[in-house]
Symmetry: C2
Subunit: 237 residues, 2 copies
DNA sequence: GTTTCTTTCAAACGATCGTTTTATACAGGT
DNA sequence: ACCTGTATAAAACGATCGTTTGAAAGAAAC
Protein backbone atom coordinates (compact mmCIF):
# COMPACT_ATOMS: atom_id res chain seq x y z
CA UNK A 1 0.00 0.00 0.00
CA UNK A 2 1.36 3.45 -0.76
CA UNK A 3 2.27 5.50 2.28
CA UNK A 4 -0.09 8.42 1.79
CA UNK A 5 -1.24 10.99 -0.64
CA UNK A 6 1.91 13.05 -0.59
CA UNK A 7 4.09 9.99 -0.55
CA UNK A 8 6.50 11.09 2.13
CA UNK A 9 7.08 14.52 0.71
CA UNK A 10 9.44 15.42 3.54
CA UNK A 11 13.10 14.73 3.03
CA UNK A 12 14.12 11.23 3.90
CA UNK A 13 17.19 9.07 3.78
CA UNK A 14 15.65 6.44 1.57
CA UNK A 15 14.69 8.77 -1.24
CA UNK A 16 16.99 6.97 -3.60
CA UNK A 17 14.37 5.27 -5.70
CA UNK A 18 12.18 8.32 -6.05
CA UNK A 19 15.05 10.53 -7.14
CA UNK A 20 16.40 7.99 -9.59
CA UNK A 21 12.94 7.55 -11.07
CA UNK A 22 12.54 11.28 -11.52
CA UNK A 23 15.92 11.57 -13.23
CA UNK A 24 15.27 8.65 -15.53
CA UNK A 25 11.80 9.89 -16.38
CA UNK A 26 13.13 13.36 -17.13
CA UNK A 27 15.63 11.99 -19.61
CA UNK A 28 13.37 9.46 -21.30
CA UNK A 29 10.28 11.66 -21.43
CA UNK A 30 12.42 14.31 -23.09
CA UNK A 31 13.96 11.86 -25.53
CA UNK A 32 10.97 9.81 -26.60
CA UNK A 33 7.96 11.76 -25.42
CA UNK A 34 5.32 10.87 -22.89
CA UNK A 35 3.62 8.28 -25.03
CA UNK A 36 6.89 6.97 -26.42
CA UNK A 37 8.73 6.32 -23.18
CA UNK A 38 7.51 3.19 -21.45
CA UNK A 39 7.44 2.53 -17.76
CA UNK A 40 9.59 -0.54 -18.21
CA UNK A 41 12.29 1.49 -19.87
CA UNK A 42 12.14 4.18 -17.21
CA UNK A 43 12.26 1.80 -14.29
CA UNK A 44 15.09 -0.15 -15.90
CA UNK A 45 17.09 3.06 -16.34
CA UNK A 46 16.40 3.98 -12.73
CA UNK A 47 17.43 0.57 -11.49
CA UNK A 48 14.10 -0.09 -9.82
CA UNK A 49 11.29 -2.51 -10.27
CA UNK A 50 8.48 -1.92 -12.73
CA UNK A 51 5.99 -1.41 -9.95
CA UNK A 52 8.07 1.31 -8.32
CA UNK A 53 6.49 4.09 -10.35
CA UNK A 54 2.96 3.18 -9.38
CA UNK A 55 4.04 2.67 -5.79
CA UNK A 56 5.88 5.95 -5.32
CA UNK A 57 3.88 8.22 -7.59
CA UNK A 58 0.59 6.49 -8.27
CA UNK A 59 0.65 6.51 -12.06
CA UNK A 60 2.67 7.53 -15.06
CA UNK A 61 0.88 10.86 -15.29
CA UNK A 62 1.44 11.59 -11.62
CA UNK A 63 5.11 10.88 -12.18
CA UNK A 64 5.19 13.61 -14.81
CA UNK A 65 3.38 16.00 -12.50
CA UNK A 66 5.78 15.30 -9.64
CA UNK A 67 8.69 15.80 -12.02
CA UNK A 68 7.42 19.20 -13.06
CA UNK A 69 6.51 20.46 -9.62
CA UNK A 70 10.00 19.58 -8.44
CA UNK A 71 12.05 20.83 -11.38
CA UNK A 72 10.09 23.99 -12.01
CA UNK A 73 10.26 25.38 -8.49
CA UNK A 74 13.98 26.30 -8.52
CA UNK A 75 13.63 27.77 -11.99
CA UNK A 76 10.74 30.00 -11.00
CA UNK A 77 12.46 30.97 -7.73
CA UNK A 78 15.64 32.00 -9.48
CA UNK A 79 13.70 33.93 -12.07
CA UNK A 80 11.98 36.00 -9.43
CA UNK A 81 15.22 36.45 -7.50
CA UNK A 82 16.98 37.78 -10.61
CA UNK A 83 14.01 39.98 -11.45
CA UNK A 84 14.15 41.53 -8.00
CA UNK A 85 17.82 42.29 -8.60
CA UNK A 86 17.09 44.23 -11.79
CA UNK A 87 18.13 47.84 -11.47
CA UNK A 88 16.25 50.59 -13.24
CA UNK A 89 17.84 52.11 -16.31
CA UNK A 90 17.96 55.83 -16.96
CA UNK A 91 14.21 56.00 -16.84
CA UNK A 92 12.16 54.36 -14.15
CA UNK A 93 11.64 50.74 -15.18
CA UNK A 94 14.49 48.25 -15.36
CA UNK A 95 16.25 47.68 -18.62
CA UNK A 96 14.49 45.27 -20.92
CA UNK A 97 17.64 43.24 -21.36
CA UNK A 98 17.89 42.67 -17.62
CA UNK A 99 14.34 41.42 -17.46
CA UNK A 100 14.89 39.09 -20.37
CA UNK A 101 18.06 37.78 -18.78
CA UNK A 102 16.28 37.13 -15.50
CA UNK A 103 13.55 35.28 -17.35
CA UNK A 104 15.65 33.26 -19.77
CA UNK A 105 18.78 32.38 -17.83
CA UNK A 106 17.18 30.01 -15.30
CA UNK A 107 15.34 28.28 -18.12
CA UNK A 108 18.62 27.48 -19.86
CA UNK A 109 20.82 26.73 -16.86
CA UNK A 110 18.74 24.08 -15.12
CA UNK A 111 19.37 21.14 -17.39
CA UNK A 112 18.92 20.60 -21.10
CA UNK A 113 16.78 17.52 -20.61
CA UNK A 114 14.16 19.42 -18.70
CA UNK A 115 14.23 22.10 -21.36
CA UNK A 116 13.53 19.51 -24.02
CA UNK A 117 10.71 18.13 -21.92
CA UNK A 118 9.20 21.58 -21.55
CA UNK A 119 9.38 22.01 -25.31
CA UNK A 120 7.61 18.72 -25.81
CA UNK A 121 4.77 19.63 -23.51
CA UNK A 122 4.45 23.07 -25.06
CA UNK A 123 3.43 21.59 -28.42
CA UNK A 124 1.08 19.11 -26.80
CA UNK A 125 -2.64 19.70 -27.04
CA UNK A 126 -3.88 17.29 -24.39
CA UNK A 127 -5.45 19.05 -21.43
CA UNK A 128 -3.27 17.37 -18.81
CA UNK A 129 -0.02 18.58 -20.31
CA UNK A 130 -1.24 22.10 -20.84
CA UNK A 131 -2.46 22.19 -17.27
CA UNK A 132 0.90 21.01 -15.94
CA UNK A 133 2.72 23.74 -17.84
CA UNK A 134 0.17 26.30 -16.79
CA UNK A 135 0.27 25.35 -13.13
CA UNK A 136 4.04 25.44 -12.95
CA UNK A 137 5.00 28.45 -15.03
CA UNK A 138 2.03 30.71 -15.71
CA UNK A 139 2.23 32.73 -12.52
CA UNK A 140 5.84 33.76 -12.90
CA UNK A 141 5.39 34.25 -16.61
CA UNK A 142 2.62 36.73 -15.98
CA UNK A 143 4.86 38.60 -13.58
CA UNK A 144 7.47 38.94 -16.27
CA UNK A 145 4.92 39.99 -18.84
CA UNK A 146 3.96 42.82 -16.54
CA UNK A 147 7.62 43.75 -16.12
CA UNK A 148 8.17 43.85 -19.87
CA UNK A 149 5.03 45.91 -20.33
CA UNK A 150 6.36 48.37 -17.78
CA UNK A 151 9.72 48.45 -19.51
CA UNK A 152 8.11 49.33 -22.83
CA UNK A 153 5.75 52.20 -21.98
CA UNK A 154 5.47 53.24 -25.61
CA UNK A 155 3.81 50.00 -26.65
CA UNK A 156 0.25 48.94 -25.91
CA UNK A 157 -0.06 45.94 -23.69
CA UNK A 158 -1.67 43.82 -26.38
CA UNK A 159 1.30 44.29 -28.66
CA UNK A 160 3.75 43.40 -25.89
CA UNK A 161 1.69 40.30 -25.21
CA UNK A 162 2.05 39.17 -28.80
CA UNK A 163 5.78 39.69 -28.70
CA UNK A 164 6.02 37.98 -25.33
CA UNK A 165 4.45 34.91 -26.85
CA UNK A 166 6.90 35.10 -29.72
CA UNK A 167 9.69 35.21 -27.14
CA UNK A 168 8.28 32.18 -25.36
CA UNK A 169 8.33 30.29 -28.62
CA UNK A 170 11.92 31.23 -29.33
CA UNK A 171 12.94 30.26 -25.82
CA UNK A 172 11.19 26.92 -25.91
CA UNK A 173 12.53 26.05 -29.33
CA UNK A 174 16.05 27.03 -28.34
CA UNK A 175 15.79 24.87 -25.24
CA UNK A 176 14.59 21.96 -27.32
CA UNK A 177 17.43 22.26 -29.80
CA UNK A 178 20.07 23.09 -27.24
CA UNK A 179 23.08 21.05 -28.15
CA UNK A 180 22.02 20.17 -31.65
CA UNK A 181 21.52 22.84 -34.28
CA UNK A 182 23.70 21.15 -36.84
CA UNK A 183 21.08 21.32 -39.58
CA UNK A 184 20.92 24.25 -41.98
CA UNK A 185 24.30 25.90 -42.16
CA UNK A 186 27.70 24.46 -41.73
CA UNK A 187 28.84 27.38 -39.64
CA UNK A 188 30.30 26.67 -36.29
CA UNK A 189 27.22 27.06 -34.15
CA UNK A 190 27.24 25.10 -30.97
CA UNK A 191 24.56 26.17 -28.54
CA UNK A 192 25.56 23.75 -25.83
CA UNK A 193 26.59 26.55 -23.51
CA UNK A 194 23.65 28.44 -22.09
CA UNK A 195 25.62 31.67 -21.94
CA UNK A 196 26.47 31.46 -25.63
CA UNK A 197 22.80 31.16 -26.51
CA UNK A 198 21.75 33.95 -24.17
CA UNK A 199 24.41 36.30 -25.51
CA UNK A 200 22.80 36.06 -28.93
CA UNK A 201 19.21 35.53 -27.90
CA UNK A 202 18.75 38.50 -25.61
CA UNK A 203 19.85 41.19 -28.09
CA UNK A 204 17.70 39.53 -30.75
CA UNK A 205 14.63 39.48 -28.55
CA UNK A 206 15.19 42.93 -27.08
CA UNK A 207 15.35 44.43 -30.55
CA UNK A 208 12.19 42.59 -31.49
CA UNK A 209 10.39 43.91 -28.43
CA UNK A 210 11.47 47.44 -29.28
CA UNK A 211 10.30 47.21 -32.88
CA UNK A 212 7.97 50.04 -33.94
CA UNK A 213 4.29 49.33 -33.90
CA UNK A 214 3.12 47.55 -37.03
CA UNK A 215 0.53 49.30 -39.10
CA UNK A 216 -2.93 48.91 -37.58
CA UNK A 217 -5.00 46.08 -38.99
CA UNK A 218 -5.88 46.96 -42.52
CA UNK A 219 -9.15 45.10 -42.95
CA UNK A 220 -8.57 44.77 -46.68
CA UNK A 221 -9.09 41.53 -48.52
CA UNK A 222 -5.80 40.12 -49.59
CA UNK A 223 -6.37 37.60 -52.32
CA UNK A 224 -4.80 34.37 -51.13
CA UNK A 225 -2.02 33.03 -53.27
CA UNK A 226 -3.00 30.17 -55.56
CA UNK A 227 -2.69 26.77 -54.03
CA UNK A 228 -3.17 27.99 -50.49
CA UNK A 229 -5.96 26.38 -48.61
CA UNK A 230 -8.15 28.35 -46.29
CA UNK A 231 -6.27 26.69 -43.48
CA UNK A 232 -8.82 27.00 -40.76
CA UNK A 233 -12.31 26.00 -40.05
CA UNK A 234 -13.43 28.86 -37.94
CA UNK A 235 -16.21 28.18 -35.57
CA UNK A 236 -18.89 30.73 -35.38
CA UNK A 237 -19.47 31.60 -31.75
CA UNK B 1 -0.54 -7.76 -52.26
CA UNK B 2 0.40 -4.11 -52.58
CA UNK B 3 0.58 -2.82 -56.14
CA UNK B 4 4.17 -1.64 -56.17
CA UNK B 5 6.67 0.50 -54.38
CA UNK B 6 5.14 3.81 -55.28
CA UNK B 7 1.62 2.56 -54.74
CA UNK B 8 0.02 4.14 -57.80
CA UNK B 9 1.62 7.50 -57.32
CA UNK B 10 -0.02 8.90 -60.42
CA UNK B 11 -3.32 10.63 -60.00
CA UNK B 12 -6.20 8.25 -60.07
CA UNK B 13 -9.92 8.27 -59.63
CA UNK B 14 -9.91 5.82 -56.75
CA UNK B 15 -7.59 7.84 -54.55
CA UNK B 16 -10.31 8.28 -51.98
CA UNK B 17 -8.89 6.01 -49.33
CA UNK B 18 -5.35 7.34 -49.63
CA UNK B 19 -6.44 10.95 -49.39
CA UNK B 20 -8.74 10.32 -46.47
CA UNK B 21 -6.01 8.45 -44.65
CA UNK B 22 -3.57 11.31 -45.17
CA UNK B 23 -6.08 13.83 -43.89
CA UNK B 24 -6.96 11.77 -40.84
CA UNK B 25 -3.31 11.07 -40.08
CA UNK B 26 -2.45 14.75 -40.38
CA UNK B 27 -5.07 15.68 -37.84
CA UNK B 28 -4.46 12.89 -35.37
CA UNK B 29 -0.67 12.95 -35.57
CA UNK B 30 -0.85 16.67 -34.86
CA UNK B 31 -3.28 16.22 -31.98
CA UNK B 32 -1.82 13.22 -30.19
CA UNK B 33 1.65 12.79 -31.59
CA UNK B 34 3.13 9.96 -33.58
CA UNK B 35 3.30 7.54 -30.70
CA UNK B 36 -0.02 8.67 -29.28
CA UNK B 37 -2.17 8.31 -32.38
CA UNK B 38 -3.04 4.71 -33.11
CA UNK B 39 -3.65 3.19 -36.48
CA UNK B 40 -7.08 2.05 -35.41
CA UNK B 41 -8.08 5.59 -34.56
CA UNK B 42 -6.68 6.94 -37.81
CA UNK B 43 -8.34 4.35 -40.00
CA UNK B 44 -11.63 4.79 -38.17
CA UNK B 45 -11.49 8.56 -38.74
CA UNK B 46 -10.70 7.96 -42.40
CA UNK B 47 -13.52 5.49 -42.77
CA UNK B 48 -11.27 2.71 -43.96
CA UNK B 49 -10.24 -0.65 -42.64
CA UNK B 50 -7.37 -1.08 -40.22
CA UNK B 51 -5.24 -2.79 -42.83
CA UNK B 52 -5.60 0.09 -45.29
CA UNK B 53 -2.59 1.96 -43.95
CA UNK B 54 -0.25 -0.96 -44.36
CA UNK B 55 -1.71 -1.71 -47.76
CA UNK B 56 -1.48 1.79 -49.21
CA UNK B 57 1.62 3.08 -47.46
CA UNK B 58 3.46 0.06 -46.10
CA UNK B 59 3.73 1.12 -42.47
CA UNK B 60 2.87 3.84 -40.01
CA UNK B 61 6.21 5.54 -40.53
CA UNK B 62 5.84 5.47 -44.30
CA UNK B 63 2.43 7.09 -43.87
CA UNK B 64 4.09 9.97 -42.06
CA UNK B 65 6.73 10.27 -44.76
CA UNK B 66 4.11 10.28 -47.51
CA UNK B 67 2.16 12.90 -45.60
CA UNK B 68 5.17 15.17 -45.39
CA UNK B 69 6.34 14.77 -48.95
CA UNK B 70 2.86 15.69 -50.13
CA UNK B 71 2.09 18.57 -47.79
CA UNK B 72 5.52 20.17 -47.86
CA UNK B 73 5.84 20.44 -51.62
CA UNK B 74 3.28 23.23 -52.14
CA UNK B 75 4.67 25.11 -49.15
CA UNK B 76 8.21 25.03 -50.47
CA UNK B 77 7.04 25.90 -53.99
CA UNK B 78 5.10 28.92 -52.82
CA UNK B 79 7.99 30.05 -50.67
CA UNK B 80 10.34 30.08 -53.64
CA UNK B 81 7.72 31.71 -55.83
CA UNK B 82 7.26 34.55 -53.34
CA UNK B 83 11.00 34.87 -52.90
CA UNK B 84 11.47 35.28 -56.62
CA UNK B 85 8.89 38.06 -56.53
CA UNK B 86 10.83 40.01 -53.89
CA UNK B 87 11.95 43.37 -55.22
CA UNK B 88 15.17 44.98 -54.08
CA UNK B 89 14.92 47.84 -51.63
CA UNK B 90 16.96 51.03 -51.95
CA UNK B 91 20.17 49.04 -51.91
CA UNK B 92 20.66 45.95 -53.96
CA UNK B 93 19.20 43.05 -51.91
CA UNK B 94 15.47 42.72 -51.31
CA UNK B 95 13.98 44.07 -48.17
CA UNK B 96 14.30 41.80 -45.19
CA UNK B 97 10.60 42.02 -44.49
CA UNK B 98 9.76 40.75 -47.96
CA UNK B 99 12.02 37.76 -47.51
CA UNK B 100 10.51 36.96 -44.14
CA UNK B 101 7.03 37.26 -45.57
CA UNK B 102 7.90 34.89 -48.42
CA UNK B 103 9.29 32.42 -45.94
CA UNK B 104 6.62 32.61 -43.26
CA UNK B 105 3.39 33.11 -45.14
CA UNK B 106 3.20 29.71 -46.83
CA UNK B 107 4.02 28.06 -43.52
CA UNK B 108 0.99 29.67 -41.89
CA UNK B 109 -1.49 29.50 -44.76
CA UNK B 110 -1.34 25.80 -45.56
CA UNK B 111 -3.28 24.38 -42.68
CA UNK B 112 -2.96 24.71 -38.94
CA UNK B 113 -2.91 20.96 -38.43
CA UNK B 114 0.16 20.52 -40.56
CA UNK B 115 1.79 23.38 -38.69
CA UNK B 116 1.17 21.64 -35.41
CA UNK B 117 2.57 18.44 -36.84
CA UNK B 118 5.70 20.26 -37.97
CA UNK B 119 6.09 21.68 -34.49
CA UNK B 120 5.80 18.23 -33.00
CA UNK B 121 8.46 16.79 -35.24
CA UNK B 122 10.76 19.73 -34.62
CA UNK B 123 11.06 18.88 -30.93
CA UNK B 124 11.54 15.20 -31.64
CA UNK B 125 14.97 13.67 -31.28
CA UNK B 126 14.47 10.40 -33.11
CA UNK B 127 16.49 10.16 -36.30
CA UNK B 128 13.54 9.34 -38.53
CA UNK B 129 11.62 12.48 -37.66
CA UNK B 130 14.62 14.74 -37.97
CA UNK B 131 15.40 13.22 -41.35
CA UNK B 132 11.84 13.78 -42.58
CA UNK B 133 11.99 17.43 -41.60
CA UNK B 134 15.43 17.80 -43.09
CA UNK B 135 14.52 16.14 -46.37
CA UNK B 136 11.41 18.23 -46.86
CA UNK B 137 12.45 21.69 -45.71
CA UNK B 138 16.21 22.04 -45.42
CA UNK B 139 16.91 22.91 -49.03
CA UNK B 140 14.50 25.82 -49.23
CA UNK B 141 15.44 26.93 -45.74
CA UNK B 142 19.07 27.21 -46.79
CA UNK B 143 18.04 29.30 -49.76
CA UNK B 144 16.26 31.71 -47.46
CA UNK B 145 19.17 31.81 -45.06
CA UNK B 146 21.34 32.94 -47.94
CA UNK B 147 18.78 35.57 -48.87
CA UNK B 148 18.68 36.93 -45.34
CA UNK B 149 22.47 36.96 -45.17
CA UNK B 150 22.50 38.99 -48.38
CA UNK B 151 19.90 41.35 -46.99
CA UNK B 152 21.98 42.03 -43.90
CA UNK B 153 25.45 42.78 -45.27
CA UNK B 154 26.54 44.40 -42.03
CA UNK B 155 26.24 41.18 -40.05
CA UNK B 156 28.56 38.20 -40.21
CA UNK B 157 26.99 35.07 -41.56
CA UNK B 158 27.37 33.20 -38.27
CA UNK B 159 25.33 35.80 -36.43
CA UNK B 160 22.60 35.72 -39.07
CA UNK B 161 22.56 31.96 -38.75
CA UNK B 162 21.92 32.18 -35.03
CA UNK B 163 19.09 34.61 -35.56
CA UNK B 164 17.68 32.52 -38.37
CA UNK B 165 17.42 29.62 -35.98
CA UNK B 166 15.70 31.85 -33.47
CA UNK B 167 13.24 32.80 -36.19
CA UNK B 168 12.61 29.16 -37.04
CA UNK B 169 11.79 28.52 -33.39
CA UNK B 170 9.38 31.43 -33.25
CA UNK B 171 7.72 30.31 -36.45
CA UNK B 172 7.35 26.71 -35.35
CA UNK B 173 6.03 27.66 -31.94
CA UNK B 174 3.56 30.12 -33.42
CA UNK B 175 2.35 27.43 -35.81
CA UNK B 176 1.91 25.02 -32.96
CA UNK B 177 -0.10 27.46 -30.89
CA UNK B 178 -2.04 28.90 -33.78
CA UNK B 179 -5.60 29.17 -32.63
CA UNK B 180 -4.96 28.81 -28.95
CA UNK B 181 -2.84 31.34 -27.07
CA UNK B 182 -5.38 31.91 -24.37
CA UNK B 183 -2.91 31.25 -21.56
CA UNK B 184 -0.96 34.08 -19.98
CA UNK B 185 -2.82 37.31 -20.48
CA UNK B 186 -6.49 37.91 -20.80
CA UNK B 187 -6.02 40.32 -23.64
CA UNK B 188 -7.88 39.65 -26.81
CA UNK B 189 -5.26 37.74 -28.75
CA UNK B 190 -6.63 35.40 -31.32
CA UNK B 191 -4.01 34.15 -33.72
CA UNK B 192 -6.37 32.07 -35.79
CA UNK B 193 -5.85 34.25 -38.81
CA UNK B 194 -2.47 33.78 -40.43
CA UNK B 195 -2.34 37.38 -41.55
CA UNK B 196 -2.88 38.63 -38.02
CA UNK B 197 0.08 36.62 -36.80
CA UNK B 198 2.30 37.65 -39.68
CA UNK B 199 1.48 41.32 -39.23
CA UNK B 200 2.96 41.13 -35.73
CA UNK B 201 5.58 38.47 -36.30
CA UNK B 202 7.40 39.99 -39.25
CA UNK B 203 8.16 43.36 -37.64
CA UNK B 204 9.24 41.58 -34.48
CA UNK B 205 11.60 39.27 -36.34
CA UNK B 206 12.92 41.92 -38.70
CA UNK B 207 13.88 44.12 -35.77
CA UNK B 208 15.58 41.16 -34.13
CA UNK B 209 17.56 40.43 -37.28
CA UNK B 210 18.66 44.04 -37.46
CA UNK B 211 19.80 44.17 -33.85
CA UNK B 212 23.37 45.41 -33.39
CA UNK B 213 26.04 42.82 -32.94
CA UNK B 214 26.32 41.59 -29.37
CA UNK B 215 29.60 42.15 -27.65
CA UNK B 216 32.19 39.64 -28.86
CA UNK B 217 32.63 36.57 -26.71
CA UNK B 218 34.20 37.46 -23.43
CA UNK B 219 36.71 34.67 -23.58
CA UNK B 220 37.33 34.29 -19.88
CA UNK B 221 35.38 33.43 -16.79
CA UNK B 222 32.52 35.80 -16.32
CA UNK B 223 31.40 35.33 -12.76
CA UNK B 224 27.96 33.76 -12.97
CA UNK B 225 25.19 35.22 -10.95
CA UNK B 226 25.19 33.93 -7.37
CA UNK B 227 23.20 30.83 -6.82
CA UNK B 228 23.19 29.83 -10.44
CA UNK B 229 25.07 26.66 -11.08
CA UNK B 230 25.90 25.35 -14.51
CA UNK B 231 23.03 23.03 -15.06
CA UNK B 232 24.23 20.26 -12.81
CA UNK B 233 22.13 18.67 -10.14
CA UNK B 234 22.62 20.02 -6.70
CA UNK B 235 22.74 18.46 -3.34
CA UNK B 236 20.19 18.83 -0.64
CA UNK B 237 19.95 22.42 0.51
C1' DG C 1 -19.00 -16.67 -68.67
C1' DT C 2 -13.70 -16.70 -66.88
C1' DT C 3 -9.36 -14.65 -65.71
C1' DT C 4 -6.52 -11.21 -63.55
C1' DC C 5 -5.46 -7.37 -60.83
C1' DT C 6 -6.79 -4.16 -57.22
C1' DT C 7 -8.94 -3.02 -53.06
C1' DT C 8 -11.46 -4.01 -48.85
C1' DC C 9 -12.64 -6.76 -45.00
C1' DA C 10 -12.60 -9.52 -40.56
C1' DA C 11 -9.63 -11.91 -37.75
C1' DA C 12 -5.69 -13.00 -35.65
C1' DC C 13 -0.59 -12.57 -34.73
C1' DG C 14 3.04 -11.53 -31.17
C1' DA C 15 4.59 -7.72 -28.65
C1' DT C 16 4.20 -4.11 -25.44
C1' DC C 17 1.43 -1.03 -22.78
C1' DG C 18 0.02 0.83 -17.70
C1' DT C 19 -1.60 -1.17 -13.79
C1' DT C 20 -2.60 -4.48 -10.12
C1' DT C 21 -1.84 -8.31 -7.28
C1' DT C 22 0.66 -11.28 -4.24
C1' DA C 23 4.42 -12.27 -1.70
C1' DT C 24 8.76 -11.18 0.52
C1' DA C 25 12.46 -8.58 2.86
C1' DC C 26 13.53 -5.07 6.23
C1' DA C 27 13.07 -1.83 9.24
C1' DG C 28 11.87 0.09 14.42
C1' DG C 29 8.79 -0.15 18.57
C1' DT C 30 6.81 -2.80 22.25
C1' DA D 1 10.17 -13.05 19.86
C1' DC D 2 5.68 -10.29 17.80
C1' DC D 3 3.41 -6.85 15.28
C1' DT D 4 3.28 -2.73 12.04
C1' DG D 5 4.20 0.01 8.35
C1' DT D 6 7.50 0.65 4.38
C1' DA D 7 9.84 -0.77 0.32
C1' DT D 8 11.09 -4.06 -3.29
C1' DA D 9 10.27 -8.33 -6.11
C1' DA D 10 8.11 -11.32 -9.61
C1' DA D 11 4.20 -12.38 -12.07
C1' DA D 12 0.12 -11.69 -14.17
C1' DC D 13 -3.95 -8.70 -15.52
C1' DG D 14 -6.66 -6.85 -19.56
C1' DA D 15 -6.02 -3.66 -23.10
C1' DT D 16 -3.97 -1.83 -27.09
C1' DC D 17 -0.19 -1.61 -30.25
C1' DG D 18 1.58 -2.22 -35.50
C1' DT D 19 1.50 -5.73 -38.63
C1' DT D 20 0.15 -9.86 -41.26
C1' DT D 21 -2.91 -13.23 -43.14
C1' DG D 22 -6.36 -15.17 -46.14
C1' DA D 23 -10.54 -14.73 -47.99
C1' DA D 24 -14.11 -11.91 -50.32
C1' DA D 25 -15.65 -8.12 -53.21
C1' DG D 26 -15.07 -5.18 -57.25
C1' DA D 27 -13.59 -3.84 -61.77
C1' DA D 28 -11.84 -4.25 -66.31
C1' DA D 29 -10.26 -7.27 -70.25
C1' DC D 30 -10.88 -11.23 -72.79
Amino acid sequence: MPPDGLHRASGDATEGARARLLAAAERLFAERGMAGAGLREITAAAGTNLAAVNYHFGSKEKLLEALFTQRARPIVAERLRLLALCRPGRGRPPMLEQILHAFLRPAFSHGAEFGRLRARLSVESEALYRRILSDTFDASTRTFLDAVVAALPALPRAEVTWRFHFMLGTMVSSMANSGRIQSVSDDAIDPAEPEAVLARLIPFLAAGFRAPLPKPPKPRETAPAPGTRPAARRRRP
